[in-house]
Subunit: 316 residues, 2 copies
């Protein structure tokens, strides 16, 4: 442990300047984002395949310019453990398919009724409600097919990844459950604890899962997996606090979605609970806790640190 701490200190004193670091992380997101897009292009059915309209609808939302945060978190974690690209990239892309399906369904008139997403009209505005529901269903289904079919790795590990992803996308403290809570609490006053349980489920579970599946594909041991899970949980919560801050302070143009909507619809936010300064302090604290969780891991985790910083400092 002493050796690892010494290494960390050494690494920190040798760290590049803040400016260099932020250039690096932007380059990393661009490079890995392009890699994710290339794999998604291959992993989704072509528009030329019948029935083409559903494939067009799936691709419309997948290629609408997302940051690819979830797949990039999985990739950065997997790379720290020298995971094989042909197994890691499909696994990472499955998370983007699931994230995108959840956005398409959340935006529906029966849910959040949003008509702008990532700066473009939402899926149901372009393709109609019925097709948008099916496009979401199809992305969710394709995510699991991708995980079952990917090359490399051991079958045992692939089944474990599948189970982790299905669990994170499920109802108990997970993606769908979070959306249920979100609907149920809309317009009601919530406590800090309730707000955290909503976000731990709605955005936290998939971000945590991204880190975990990167580690599993890479063959991390259980102690490493535990430390990375803490990192993932802190980063996921930090992401949501930063999201609330952006919703309050950025413009719709910067965000690519309707700004100030949460406040206008009286949705529970960290700003409503703690104010802008309180939420900023919380995001900062979570960032430091996320980075501290990486201390026990004897791998190159600088990119995970940088991603945590990006999560709280991003402008969109």
């Amino acid at each position: 442990m002493v050796n690892q701490r010494e290494k960390k200190v050494l690494k920190m004193t040798q760290s590049p300047s803040r400016t260099e670091r932020s250039i690096n992380i932007i380059e990393y997101f661009q490079k890995k984002g392009a890699q994710v897009d290339a794999w998604l292009e291959r992993l989704l059915p072509a528009v030329s395949e019948a029935p083409s309209l559903i494939h067009e609808a799936m691709r419309y939302s997948i290629f609408a310019g997302g940051k690819r945060l979830r797949p990039i978190l999985a990739i950065a974690t997997g790379e720290a453990f020298n995971a094989e690209e042909r197994t890691l990239l499909p696994a990472a892309c499955s998370l983007e398919m699931i994230h995108t399906y959840s956005l398409i369904h959340d935006d529906l008139p029966a849910m959040d009724n949003d008509d702008l997403r990532r700066g473009m009209p939402t899926n149901h505005v372009v393709f109609g409600e019925g097709m948008a529901i099916l496009a979401g269903d199809a992305l969710l289904t394709q995510a699991f097919r991708t995980l079952a079919d990917c090359e490399g790795g051991t079958p045992q590990r692939k089944l474990r990844v599948l189970s982790e992803v299905a669990s994170a996308a499920g109802t108990v403290n997970s993606l769908i459950g979070g959306q249920v809570l979100d609907l149920q609490f809309e317009g009601k006053s919530v406590t800090g604890e309730q707000l955290e349980s909503i976000h731990r489920a709605k955005t936290g579970a998939l971000i945590r899962c991204a880190v975990r599946i990167g580690a599993i594909v890479g063959g991390a041991d259980e102690a490493e997996l535990r430390a990375l899970t803490v990192y993932g949980e802190k980063a996921g919560l930090a992401f949501q606090v930063a999201d609330d801050l952006l919703d309050e302070t950025a413009t719709s143009e910067e965000l690519g979605k309707t700004a100030g909507k949460d406040a206008a619809s009286h949705k529970a936010t960290y700003i409503a609970l703690y104010g802008i300064d309180g939420a900023r302090e919380m995001a900062d604290r979570l960032y430091h806790e996320a980075v501290a969780a990486l201390n026990s891991i004897d791998r190159e985790t600088i990119m995970l640190e940088e991603i945590a910083r990006f999560i709280v400092e991003r402008k969109s």
Copy 2:
């Protein structure tokens, strides 16, 4: 081959009378249906788990009195190959989860806008549209989690089953693709070929998949799998023709859903194309083709024959 044919002939001459057979198949459906229900009870999150409303919505549609045709087809096939119950039953149940999710989403106002299903108000009528969309999403997700987590079998075989199920639930000649075509062709005149491609996807893919995963869990060889696939394809198409006949000739009370709705909404049906007598002949021909496909398999397949007969002779 001669030996197998002789055995078949022997089996046929020793077959019980028609009345005894129909009692047997009803008993088989009751017994296996109860087994499926007991497994579904265990495999779905309890209503006591938070958020309880989504678990209530999932269970409402799962336990609304379906025939369990898909899981029972998987079970009957698996049993012919001595598949282990602890692997076969979860795999079979995953198909019922997927079938039920597709019904919930198909019934939505943005799709077929149905308010009666299996004799009960549809999911969105009871729980609201938003919750019904999420309940469908959750059943689809839980199906894959069930497949990833089930005990017994080899990891390789489980991944293959997962891939088969994800493919059958997907867009290309599969479940979602069929619903897309159904929406696109609604109110338009279709050819027999087009109608067959809709149904091959919308109902056929999952029924074919049921037979295939039963065989895969049981360790069938590739020749057996090919023969069973033909059986599954014929049985799936026969099911749809029989469904059209029921929609035309049965009452809403018998069906548990709105009767005559397909005709009223000018949906493409086999009746519209071939008339009642033509459709009856087609169902009968498909039944015989399904049974003939079983000839090359040196296993006890009498229950699969009986299920094919039940599919074309059922009254609801």
